[in-house]
Homo-oligomer: 336 residues x 2
């Protein structure tokens, strides 16, 4: 089957695209059988794709010359994880496919890596800062733990002017994915969590590792003790909150990955009211907020009352004056 020749059904409950039907299910936090997104492809001559056959599973006992083994046990929650993290697995399968079909032009629907060069005025500033580090005046060692004061003030005024977010509310970290795990560590193992279904896998995986969940249940393809909030075309990709059980933490990504659907002002208002009623914390992931061109809120802090129940993660790939390629802004108002 070539995706050049027909619309391809990509379902979070599995398709031939990734080989094994169970894989996409188990790793993409989805148990939705109905979701089917049609991808229309151009019938041009550029794209030449060939469906992958499932790669052979690794040998059960790889020959390792281990003459000795420690008596240290691993975090038992790790064993609950299914088949490794999604994106390295996709990369492995893609590599195997390319080996077999070297001329294939694979459409990557995986991790969402960037492909375009960075504008020159940004990299020039980065280079300038690099050179400054060789001067007595320009050199600096460790920065402030919460981020440079000047940067935090600028973020507050540029992105959140008028929303009641101040410099002190902002924490600049080294990436949103790291922050997800750190937040889980802050919450500990005794909280319950809800996620959109389908959703970015790091919310669920980090929850599993922290011991917040039960085992993976193969029959329903869900982890125990996680509240999966169905987001399908039928409900406009926004969960029916009347059917969602109360949890401590609600991970909510808008625009969502992988559906691309952005919540409206009215929907987010309902979500905030829901969290407030339940005493929950919303961890709002706005990684794709910069791509929005419509009137939907870019930040949940545009919703009245959201500051009382929400933490906010925003991923900035490049920020002009600073030397990092990828960092994250984390905003909270003392919720715990």
């Amino acid at each position: 089957m070539s995706v050049m020749q027909q619309a391809t059904s990509i379902s979070s409950s599995g398709s031939g695209f990734l080989g094994q039907n169970t894989f996409f299910n188990t790793r993409y936090s989805s148990s939705t059988k109905e979701l089917s997104i049609k991808v229309k492809t151009k019938n041009s001559g550029i794209c030449k794709c060939v469906a992958a056959t499932p790669p052979p599973p690794p040998p059960p006992n790889e020959k390792q010359q281990i003459a000795y083994k420690t008596n240290v046990s691993r975090n038992g929650n790790m064993a609950k994880l299914q088949a490794g993290y999604l994106f390295p697995e996709i990369a492995r399968r893609r590599a195997a496919h390319m080996l077999k079909y070297p001329d294939a032009n694979v459409i990557r629907l995986g991790i969402g890596d960037t492909t375009e060069p960075i504008p020159e005025f940004i990299t020039s500033a980065m280079a300038k800062r690099a050179h400054e580090l060789s001067t007595l005046e320009g050199y600096s060692g460790y920065g402030a733990e919460q981020g440079e004061k000047q940067l935090r003030a600028k973020i507050a005024s540029t992105y959140y002017g008028g929303l009641g977010i101040e410099e002190n509310d902002i924490f600049v970290s080294d990436g949103a994915k790291c922050d997800i795990s750190r937040l889980q560590l802050l919450f500990g193992s005794n909280v319950t969590m809800a996620v959109q279904d389908p959703s970015y896998p790091a919310y669920v995986d980090s929850s599993v590792i922290m011991g917040q969940t039960g085992q993976f249940q193969t029959d329903v393809e869900k982890y125990g003790n996680i509240e999966y909030m169905r987001c399908t075309p039928e409900n406009g990709f926004f969960p029916d909150l009347s059917k969602v059980s109360r949890t401590d933490v609600i991970f909510f990504c808008s625009p969502n990955n992988p559906t691309g659907s952005a919540a409206t002002r009215e929907q987010l208002t309902r979500l905030v009211q829901f969290a407030k009623k339940n005493g929950s914390i919303i961890v709002y992931d706005s990684a794709y907020g910069m791509y929005m061109t419509d009137d939907n809120p870019r930040s949940i802090f545009e919703i009245p009352g959201a500051k009382e129940v929400s933490m906010y993660m925003m991923n900035l790939f490049v920020f002009l004056l600073y030397f990092f390629l990828n960092f994250s802004i984390l905003i909270s108002k003392g919720l715990l």
Copy 2:
């Protein structure tokens, strides 16, 4: 008291230097009453230091306008931590001191920040790489999870040539401190751990957060369920292993922070034998290995059998060809 005028006694069991006697004890993982390092200071006119008086404690109930509180509990292990992480606390106290004595030239014995500019040939390479990111040929998105293949091969041959460490054993991460917490997450809450006493605080703090320890016991100034290995002048700063109980993990830093003492080949051989006998894993922190000028091993992998029981962390502040200012090498041989 001025450190200009006399040798100053700095003890990990407390001195006036940090104000409160209990502080250095509780946060620097030390219960050693005897340790006293004499610091000889030059009687020059440059340094003008004034002893700090303890800063006032923060008000018990800072006025916060919180009209609403969530029902989400925090990781209970966080509450076991004493008074916040050591280094931000030192920074806060230093800032308070400088406010009171603006002319003071404080000798910083805290986090060990760097102060000297980076050699120009390194920052030029960093700037070159920045500029390349603006070109179609030079741009790259996410790198390989375990680090670039080429870099890992170079690290293996440059630093571990002849020690049986290969490219595949090496994981390049974004920093040794992050790695400590990630390793703790890998171990989980059911392992026991040993640390040098005194030692870098992140080993203990990360263990506390993961729930591996008991409460902090104020009478002995130790956390329950941690094996503190005394390293004092009396034992040459190397623990008497006949008195150390078996633990799953042994954090071992050489040259150690804060004592500066490096373990000899013979001492490390005993440590490896001790770990092997007990089925323990040594997490070997070699952050200061590059400063060694004597014949002591820079890496524990120089010791026969160490690969079977050791993980290894090495902090590289700058590596020529890559764009990170601070990253870490983590080496393991499939110990779990």
